[in-house]
């Protein structure tokens, strides 16, 4: 079973690489190079904050786009092109296929994010003339961004297991946007009663809490990240991803292919 999932994951990774998905790295480098003259005109302290904010936001945005748009096409493209037929006619289970696809895209994003992070550190080193201890904290923000990708790929796969690519993209993007306001939703739920309050309460737990995975501003200002938050976010994101992935596998295993 592991061997089959690994094969599907490796094939997904290979597809992303050969379809030039990683070309976004070039844009990232261009962004850093283009922003250098701008950053050179401001004071040293602000330079660092700006570079961290700009780079980590770019890593997050590029990765989010890949997670959602590649995530929804992982299964739908295979169904549409019927490349799935010879795969599913084999002993490979549909659940194995879904998990393999998930791991493949997660691996692609890991490589992509790692390369961007290396580029960012190189830019930071050039700008500051060296790296301090506080710069290591930035890796926690990158780790949280990766956790965010794991959640988003799971959601994209879940939606694409039962709806069209267009609707899946719409649903996943809506969840992504709403994910930044779960705290507000909880506040709304507490101040409202009845059906309205209950719906807001349920939604605040169904929608991923992406705001808690964003510590970019905190690391840019050298604020410490508590270990408990790292633990909480890890458990939360992995559980959320596992739940969406299980849902996707369950729905896909019952789906009739046209």
């Amino acid at each position: 079973m592991m061997r089959r999932m690994t094969a599907v994951a490796a094939n997904t990774f290979r597809e992303a690489v050969r379809d030039r998905v990683l070309y976004n790295l070039v844009f990232f480098v261009l962004l850093l190079v283009a922003s250098a003259p701008l950053l050179g005109q401001i004071s040293i302290g602000v330079q660092r904050v700006l570079l961290i904010n700009l780079s980590l936001s770019a890593i997050s945005i590029f990765g989010t786009i890949i997670s959602i748009f590649l995530g929804i096409s992982l299964v739908s493209k295979e169904i549409e092109r019927r490349t799935l037929y010879p795969v599913l006619a084999r002993p490979a289970g549909r659940g194995e296929f879904i998990v393999g696809k998930y791991v493949g895209l997660a691996g692609t994003l890991l490589v992509n994010t790692s390369a961007m992070t290396l580029g960012f550190y190189a830019a930071l080193l050039l700008m500051m003339g060296g790296l301090g201890r506080a710069d290591g904290n930035i890796l926690i923000a990158v780790y949280f961004i990766l956790l965010q990708f794991l959640v988003l790929i799971g959601l994209a796969l879940l939606f694409s297991s039962f709806s069209s690519p267009l609707l899946s993209a719409l649903f996943a993007l809506s969840m992504f946007v709403a994910g930044w306001f779960t705290a507000d939703l909880r506040g709304f739920a507490e101040s409202n009663h009845g059906l309205q309050g209950w719906l807001a309460f349920a939604s605040s737990y169904l929608i991923p809490n992406l705001a808690s995975l964003n510590v970019i501003t905190r690391v840019a200002h050298d604020q410490p990240i508590p270990a408990a938050l790292v633990g909480y976010n890890t458990v939360y994101a992995l559980s959320y991803a596992a739940a969406t992935l299980s849902g996707a596998a369950l729905i896909f295993s019952r789906r009739n292919l046209k």
Partner: protein, 310 residues
């Protein structure tokens, strides 16, 4: 033991905006494919051939019924490991090379790395793609894709190979190659189940065939027997131009040529036709049975909507 047993397999689709309307894709199908035979699954477009294959491959769920493959439930992974499948008009990952594609499918089928390393070059050689082993599939022609499709279907050395319209859309040369490949597989002792609407291919390759029309099984049997059971005609040739009117009355079509008349009459009116010639004292030149063809059988089964099914 039967290679494939289809037991009342049925598929009904819900269509329309509210999915209230029902469309029958396959009516209760019962069929048995014997081990080591080439079995042709014939039918016009939309007859339900691909639906049947999709049901057998687990790509879609039946509304009712089940199947057994080599004695096991058709959904059992152990049964799936022993079959190969070529879908209709196959499309493969075009960013892969044939070598990579076969390696991927081989892994999914549980073929060990050592066996994959050994089998893939041999198989590529066998389907005539050895020199294209490292070329991306996006540069392949339809015929080449069909060959790689057959290669992936047999890479794990399955006992049964299911081929959905393997010759469809191919040029005569490519069709011939595919036909020879199927015969090779048959000689190796594999069971071949292939769907087609090209009757010449079925006639040349199959031991037995089944005819499907509008989702319903219309007939099944040994090709040679079906051909003889098809409505046959007899050609009678005699000397002299008399007797034509009487022959026409029997439903014969008469073609006088010089001193001879050539008439085609249905087999069951042969005695009456010969009586006419005897009474008129016309010299009989020849009586030649016109052999039935699979095409005749096929058309007879497909065009008759109320016939009791053989």
């Amino acid at each position: 033991m039967a290679a494939v047993e289809i037991l009342g397999l049925e598929k009904t689709y819900s269509v329309g905006f509210f999915r209230k309307q029902k469309k029958v894709g396959l009516k209760s199908l019962n069929l048995e494919v014997r081990e080591r035979e080439v079995f042709g699954f014939l039918g016009p477009n939309g007859a339900g051939k691909t639906t049947t294959l999709k049901l057998l491959m687990g790509l879609t769920s039946p509304t009712a019924g089940s199947a057994r493959i080599l004695g096991k439930n058709w959904r059992d992974p152990a049964a799936r490991a022993r079959i190969g499948f070529l879908p209709e008009q196959p499309y493969f990952y075009d960013y892969l090379t044939p070598k990579e594609l076969l390696d991927y499918y081989g892994t999914l089928s549980g073929v060990t790395a050592a066996d994959r390393r050994m089998r893939i070059p041999k198989l590529l050689e066998r389907v005539g793609l050895a020199d294209k082993a490292d070329m991306q599939l996006r540069k392949f022609s339809k015929g080449m894709l069909q060959r790689i499709g057959i290669a992936q279907a047999v890479l794990h050395e399955p006992e049964i190979v299911f081929l959905d319209e393997p010759m469809s859309g191919l040029d005569p040369l490519a069709r011939r190659e595919v036909r020879e490949f199927i015969l090779d597989l048959h000689r190796e002792g594999k069971t071949i189940f292939f769907s087609t609407h090209i009757l010449a291919d079925a006639e040349a390759l199959c031991d037995r065939v089944a005819v499907l029309s509008r989702g319903e099984l219309r007939g099944v049997g040994v090709v040679a027997e079906l051909m003889t059971s098809a409505q046959k005609k007899v050609e009678i040739v005699w000397q002299g131009t008399a007797g034509i009117a009487a022959m026409n009355a029997l439903g014969a079509s008469c073609h006088p040529a010089g001193d001879l008349v050539r008439a085609t009459v249905s087999h069951d009116r042969l005695d009456e036709a010969l009586d006419i010639l005897k009474r008129a004292q016309l010299p009989l030149v020849s009586v030649t049975p016109l052999g039935g063809s699979l095409e005749e059988y096929f058309l007879q089964k497909v065009q008759d909507p109320v016939e009791a099914h053989a």
